[in-house]
């Protein structure tokens, strides 16, 4: 289970985006905030990769880096983001607008603040087509109307000339999706696209993203803190904590065979509709990223912390071809630590399949 792993350079033809050892920091008044501390992951064509973590775990910063929209006080300390033969961390601002929109699209968390309040939504959808792709306005309008229909905005002709404040939250998010799709990108990055929405609206937006992904063969990076959403969307999952990926695997591996204590905690800290037992609370608070802890960043909050956790950063241990976790508990010399009872029970229940809505 802990074999030496080599990077398979040969099998990268279906890999569309490769992130390697990315480190991003922010200059702040208090010091250098180490937001992302060396993450690596691949995005394959046509798959959805979820990045799960709580606020401050560095998930939004990593996708801002991919999009080249970091604020000016950010520093990319090291690493590369390989896309289409180019390293996106080295692409200049002047060239980056060729990639944004046309190749990589982004959907925002808050659809209200993401739309310009005083510009007609039709114009917001078409402006990139007209300005960046030199399409003539009439053609662009036709394409925009098509897109609006595709994302489920009915009565598109009339709504084309309306302003964002005339739409509901769910509709605004649909507009943002239409804008992201306007450039016909091959990668779609979703930054908590449903956090600001109600559950029923969220369900519809997730369905929409899934169906668009299929029909356009998109590769999706999906950022969220909601494991339910992850289960719904993701083929593969990266769990982030304190600026690092601590576990990565397929959706099934993460949900049914989690290996990192933080993943355990995430899975068992929130009740689902059938939970009765006491929740497993993670004590303490996430670390201050100006002074990230030595060793395993999660150790101070981990009931099963080992001595080495406080000294040395754990490497990735391989559990399967697709499943890796960075925790010393997987070291052969480590004591066997059982899954928490709550989690065991829950996984058993999950594997039994939901009797929900049979």
């Amino acid at each position: 289970m802990q074999d030496r792993r080599h990077v398979h350079e040969t099998r990268q033809d279906d890999t569309i985006l490769r992130v390697r050892d990315l480190k991003v920091s922010f200059r702040s008044y208090g010091g250098l905030v180490q937001a992302v501390r060396g993450i690596s992951f691949d995005l394959k064509r046509g798959e959805t990769v979820a990045v799960v973590g709580e606020s401050g775990s560095g998930k939004s910063v990593s996708i801002k880096t991919i999009m080249g929209i970091l604020p000016s006080n950010a520093i990319i300390e090291s690493g590369e983001i390989m896309y289409d033969g180019k390293d996106l961390t080295k692409v200049s601002e002047d060239d980056f607008h060729e990639i944004r929109g046309k190749r990589i699209g982004l959907i925002f968390q808050d659809p209200l603040s993401a739309l310009n309040p005083i510009m007609k939504i039709g114009k917001q959808i078409t402006e990139a087509l007209v300005l960046a792709q030199k399409m003539n306005p009439k053609e662009a309008r036709g394409q925009a109307l098509e897109l609006m229909n595709a994302v489920g905005i009915s009565d598109a002709e009339r709504r084309f000339d309306q302003y964002p404040f005339q739409f509901s939250g769910g509709m605004r998010q649909r507009i943002v999706i239409a804008i992201a799709l306007a450039g016909d990108p091959e990668i779609l990055i979703c930054d908590e696209p449903t956090t600001a929405l109600d559950v029923t609206v969220q369900a519809r937006i997730l369905e929409l993203i899934n169906s668009i992904k299929k029909s356009r063969n998109l590769s999706v990076i999906f950022i969220t803190h909601d494991l339910g959403v992850v289960a719904n969307m993701a083929d593969r999952v990266n769990v982030m904590y304190a600026g690092k990926i601590v576990e990565t695997g397929t959706s099934e591996e993460i949900f049914f065979d989690p290996a990192h204590p933080y993943t355990w905690a995430l899975l068992s800290s929130m009740p689902d509709l059938e939970t009765k037992e006491r929740l497993l609370a993670i004590p303490g608070t996430p670390p201050n990223m100006i002074f990230p802890p030595k060793g395993d960043a999660f150790a101070p909050r981990n009931k099963n912390a080992l001595k080495i956790d406080l000294e040395m950063e754990p490497p990735f241990f391989k559990l399967s071809e697709t499943h890796y976790a960075a925790t010393w508990l997987l070291h052969p010399k480590a004591p066997k630590v059982e899954l928490p009872e709550v989690l065991k029970a829950r996984i058993a229940r999950m594997k039994g399949g939901g009797e929900l809505h049979a």
Binding site: H225, M350, H357
Partner: protein
Amino acid sequence: MPSSEYLLEVQGLRQYFASGRGKNRLVVKAVDDISFGVKPAETFGLVGESGCGKTTTGRTIIRLCDPTAGRVFFDGREVSGRMTNDLRKYLTDNIAMIFQDPIESLNPRMTIEEIVGEGLKVRGLKDKAEIRRRVVEMLVKVGLNEEHATRYPHEFSGGQRQRIGIARAVIVKPKMIIADEPVSALDVSIQAQVINLLNDLKEELGLTILFIAHDLSVVKYFSNRIGVMYYGRLVEVAKGDDLYKNPLHPYTRALLSAIPQPNPLTERTRQRVDYVPDRDHDYSTEQPTMVEVEPEHFVLCSPSELLEYRRRIAQNV
């Protein structure tokens, strides 16, 4: 008529907000004729989407706003009438509130000791050492320590602030607590801390809780009974398990079907149900009323819908 069964009883509560005048007058029926009761030492969950009036309901009960119509009884005494000093004292002595936003709900200019101790001070406690002692005792109870008493809110993390908010509410020994989305602004890993703390306090102090949230999973985990709200109306009230096994109102069914579960197996096959009021109800001839379909399971429905619901229950059991 207040019955002895309930500690808090809400009857036909309405809360309308009007804006504009003349032709521009716009009335928002934030809460529109809702009735429910909360039994002593139980947790009643109020769930619904943003703008459904659940927060307004909580705020109206504790009289942060005056109700447009309807009556509210607490322990047999009406608390919805004209505000007198006596009534205010009765209300504030018995019901406390926990708020949603851990940043917004603590005064940035006051120390933790002042914030938590304010309720004691208002109740006439003058002895500073005694206030200090009780504040520290309370802080320890919510997992903080004495050193934290002299601190200002901005020095704490979200979860810690929320625990301070709980300490502030509990220190005055209320009989009931209205918890308005106490965990929704917190990070996932912190939510469990707060939920467990609330659970412990509830056991230890025998608190009655009105728990308001939009997350049905959390509400179901935490509450004995649940009320589902939709656009100002209470559409279904039932015990948690009944609601989950036998959702009757189409909105409840839509809500349940929309909740993403952290389980890739079920998620991939999940069938979402939409709720379209105009399609799902025909109220052209019959008006819906709140009816007890089975013991302790109330649904807002018309007589013909009632028949249909009864039939469904019979099949399921």
